[in-house]
Subunit: 206 residues, 3 copies
């Protein structure tokens, strides 16, 4: 993919992820700094865990843009406040596009380090979904991603499409676009048609 295009999408995705973290922190009455940290961790947490596991320098330590974009997200939430609720659908679109890109980037980086494809799919999923998990741990809630819609699974599906494109030796651009599209389509369809995975029932259930 064109690198300027990727950079723009990455900023949009970071902004959408940070705003989701900041808004959830605001519901817990965190102060501005706490909300900033939750937003930042939501945006960079997945990629950071990926980079630690791949034993490469964390991406956000190479470029201050992620900290700056999170600051913009904080200002946006403070200034716009309740008006943001009306943009719910816009956020959903941004968040999903960001998710798709994060998955593709996570897979690319893992393959570059030389790991096999199944590790790359795990890392793509971690990149996309782990930030939201740390966010929910920080605000002391059960991770949403484990109960709501198809979220982490959309990352896995994107990874499988990437793999198929790779096995078919399609050009990189096409493989990556197909993988990203499969994440977006899965997520949109899951929300529209209320798809969800079966719930695992506890031992105590009747």
């Amino acid at each position: 993919m064109d690198s300027t295009f990727v950079s723009i999408i990455e900023i949009i995705g970071t902004l959408a992820f940070a705003i989701s973290g900041i808004r959830l922190a605001s519901a817990k009455q965190f102060d501005w700094f706490g909300a900033y940290v939750v937003g930042l961790v939501t945006a960079i947490g997945g990629g950071t865990l990926r980079d630690v596991l791949l034993n490469i320098p964390s991406f956000w330590m190479q470029d201050s843009v992620y900290l700056i974009v999170t600051g913009v997200a904080l200002i946006a939430v403070i200034v716009l406040g309740k008006f943001l609720i009306k943009l719910q659908n816009t956020f959903f679109v941004f968040d999903t596009i960001g998710l798709a890109l994060f998955v593709v980037v996570g897979i690319q980086k893992t393959l570059l380090v030389g790991y096999p494809f199944w590790v790359a799919i795990v890392m793509g999923t971690i990149t996309g979904a782990f930030g939201g998990i740390i966010r929910d741990i920080l605000i002391n809630e059960e991770p949403l991603v484990f109960r709501k819609d198809i979220y982490a699974l959309a990352c896995v599906i994107g990874g499988v499409f990437y793999w198929i494109g790779f096995l078919l030796q399609l050009p990189d651009e096409i493989t990556q676009s197909v993988a990203a599209a499969s994440v977006i389509i899965t997520r949109f369809a899951a929300v529209k048609y209320h798809w969800g995975l079966p719930v695992l029932h506890g031992d105590d259930d009747a």
Copy 2:
């Protein structure tokens, strides 16, 4: 220890740890994917933290068996459901054998990297007990390991026996067997006789 023997015990331990995670996730009504993630993290979390701290590649990224065994654990919980409760005692045995092996492997790896013995004992304990701590964080409960029976302490005791065997220059196989046995015996005795560490009372207590 014989490497095939170790591999078999490792798979049994991974299965037991994963099942414990998946069952606790099911009590929280997580979906299948969420339960899989909790099971996986329970099984590989301790070893992953150890490998990150030792700055060596994470063990589960070298071999897909851990992801596959966790999948088997998920299927077992879905299919067998309530029947698993009757196997409680069997799980306890598997879990404890797995714990003992995880401790021994954690110590071995740390010594191989060249750290002194006290670091190896910490790493053995992290390998054995940290997966359960992350599991409890993910399901938003206070870590059980901090309040129930002798669990993490059994890991430390195993580490001390390993150290004694090392100081006495016993053959590796004997040292490792004694260390593993001390973990198992401590854990069994703690549960049978309801041993527990003293509770630390809060400032507000009467």
Copy 3:
């Protein structure tokens, strides 16, 4: 700064951080081992995350003093019990001095690895504040640092003063003393005058 002086302050800071963790664990009725782990993680958690992100060996794996000091903290809490409450103000002083030193050490280490200053400020803040965040996650509470007084922000302010001293090419000792003093003064003033950051209000607020 003189290295013996630094070592003494580091031990005092570790002790104060460990005691804060152990006391919060005691309010949750953790057993002695659980309380020890929470105290240890509070004391070394921030520096450990910093070292993992910087890809250097974790500081506490090089010297057993941190584990020993945490043991001393546990014994102190067990033996002194309620009497500790009367020492509240003393702890606050120790804790703040420890915080200031942790920030300075975090910045120093990051600059030594070759990262730019903005990364160093982030790492100084992580060194100072992250241990308390992990502590609160382990005891299953919303992180205090996100809601109370000026804590993490004092770390950032210390980092900015370090940066100013660096840009003015002041001698290292002066820069570090000014940075540490700015952390201490900010924290003392915030508590004395009840300074706090604005709270971010949730979408549902009236």
